[in-house]
Symmetry: C2
Subunit: 343 residues, 2 copies
């Protein structure tokens, strides 16, 4: 317990061995295969360890064994509760396998994503999970090429060079719009963008599929583009929406995610327009703030924690299996109907 005050070099196995009058190898055995050591010496070594405040140097260990016991998740935006929930799922799964998880936030910036991936590659983690800003970054293949499992989270790629977990966004879009059509809406707006995000395209696709199958005129499903996926974009889009003459204005809006939907909700209430009577609203993700909104928000729920948990499991499996086959998991979203779309 003697937390040696001097900031000098901290104790190594060598120091412990000297103090306990045993060899290096024995100390290592106490650490890694305690059963191969007699009770008496084990105890002596352990006493020496606490006396010196010995803490194993993970760099040396990893250098020698080539093994790491930590997983990394490079998240797209730590400020979006969706991703922190995914992270929670990863952590829970990792915990069950005695792995620790570190989080890296690329904050929607490709350069920061690059620097994180480069750092992770140099450190040879057990596995790298990533929701990429740039799904085509060569660094991803490079890391995988070095033997580190890479799992793509919440994004799809056309190839099968990585494991991935994602949610069926086409189906999610379809589900949302089917719900609105069921509730009797005949003029609906899709609020989302930018278009270069695959999920935006997929959800819109699903929305259009449902609309067409209901036999409704394509022009009555209007699309309002947003610049990004946050609350401010929602407010801004709502202004455009509410600017339309109420005779032609959509009676419902399907928003690309809950942040946008919350922005719309706020702007709508401010304008004295009633939700859901004058405008029904469906969001996407079902983050905790959705249920807690002024008018509880209907939303297409993604199994966020499950997504993370399965991603972690895939990385682990890949790191253990000698000959591993990549898997692409696709989960099913589920509509949670609340007051914002129920009359």
């Amino acid at each position: 317990m003697a937390a040696n005050g001097r900031p000098g070099r901290s104790a190594s196995v060598k120091d412990v061995a000297a103090l306990a009058h045993v060899s290096l190898g024995t100390v290592s055995n106490v650490l890694n295969r305690p059963d191969r050591v007699s009770a008496a010496t084990r105890e002596r070594v352990e006493r020496a360890m606490t006396a010196l405040g010995f803490v194993r140097n993970e760099s040396a260990r990893q250098l020698r064994t080539g093994l790491s016991s930590t997983l990394a998740y490079v998240m797209l935006d730590a400020g979006n509760p969706f991703f922190t929930d995914v992270a929670r799922g990863i952590e829970t799964a990792a915990e069950q396998h005695d792995l620790t998880v570190v989080l890296c936030n690329s904050d929607n910036r490709a350069d920061r994503e690059r620097s994180h991936l480069a750092m992770l590659e140099e450190r040879r983690f057990r596995g790298v999970l990533v929701t990429p800003v740039d799904p085509d970054s060569p660094l991803l293949e490079q890391i995988a090429g070095r033997g580190t499992p890479v799992v793509i989270v919440d994004r799809t790629r056309d190839d099968d060079r990585f494991c991935s977990v994602a949610v069926d966004d086409v189906l999610g879009g379809r589900t949302a719009v089917e719900h609105l059509v069921d509730r009797g809406h005949r003029r609906v707006a899709f609020l989302g963008g930018p278009d270069n995000i695959g999920q935006v395209r997929d959800r819109l696709q699903g929305a259009r599929d449902a609309w067409a199958e209901a036999g409704l005129p394509p022009d009555d499903l209007t699309v309002l583009r947003t610049d990004s996926l946050d609350v401010a974009s929602g407010r801004e889009a709502a202004e455009r929406l509410l600017g339309q003459p109420s005779s032609r204005r959509p009676t419902a809006a399907f928003c690309i995610n809950d942040l946008v939907a919350l922005g719309v909700l706020q702007q709508t209430m401010r304008a004295g327009v009633s939700v859901p009577d004058d405008l029904a609203l469906v969001g996407y993700d079902d983050i905790a703030f959705a249920a807690a909104a002024a008018v509880p928000l209907s939303s297409v729920r993604q199994p966020r924690e499950l997504l993370g948990a399965r991603a972690a499991a895939l990385a682990l499996a890949e790191s253990e299996d000698r000959d591993h086959r990549h898997q692409q998991l696709l989960f099913t979203p589920e509509l949670v109907a609340r007051a914002s779309s129920l009359g």
Copy 2:
């Protein structure tokens, strides 16, 4: 560029040296002191490096040099936007010094905090920033004792054994209540808990100070305890508040943070009680969702990103200065008045 397909051991300096027909040391010089190497050989070595897909092994480097270039932030709750904003501040500051940051989420659990700290100690990071679940954890002193700078973020400790950054919570509580008194409120509720959190005690203390200085009867500042600091607790506390006969009911509530305030707001609107006319509301933290609420929320803003940035700077300074004196930084909160407290 030849991303060697074989998953076998990846290239080392030795391999590069062999391919470039130079010695180990020269490769290392190319990496670390390129000016000490002639242009011709440097280029030859660099070609060999890309040909082999060489990536420096950080474990070996760190083992040899004892230096690390990454900072860790152990955050209390990644789901609370307050902490992700602090993290953003850390990342921005770190980036300017070419350090990378990893985030660890203790998710309000002491055991997870312990396992993260243990992992960080074994990895000998450049610095450890932490908003502790348990500010008295012996692991903190242990890590610091080993020579790793430890900075306590958004918590205060009585001693000066660490650097710390925090915000003056007594002043914050005082500011909130002064504002409400100024607006004419004579019956006010404080919503917050549990009491074992220092910040809860401090903000309540400030609230009471302001109340007393205004010469108002102590009993008219009522305290409603909450079990935690989330939206659900806010809803629950609001129910208790609204259950009181309106003649005696407080006309304003000061909430321990914005999540609680959002819960109160939601429950209040649902009950048909008007904010701010029937109940004024002030939150704390000024997270992004506060301004975006159905009724924009007044809040006591903490300089979140600044907090993070200064914490990172302190860690860095401590890691560089030979003889370093710990500093305790205390920032000043600032009231942001919005519709929820303005008639």
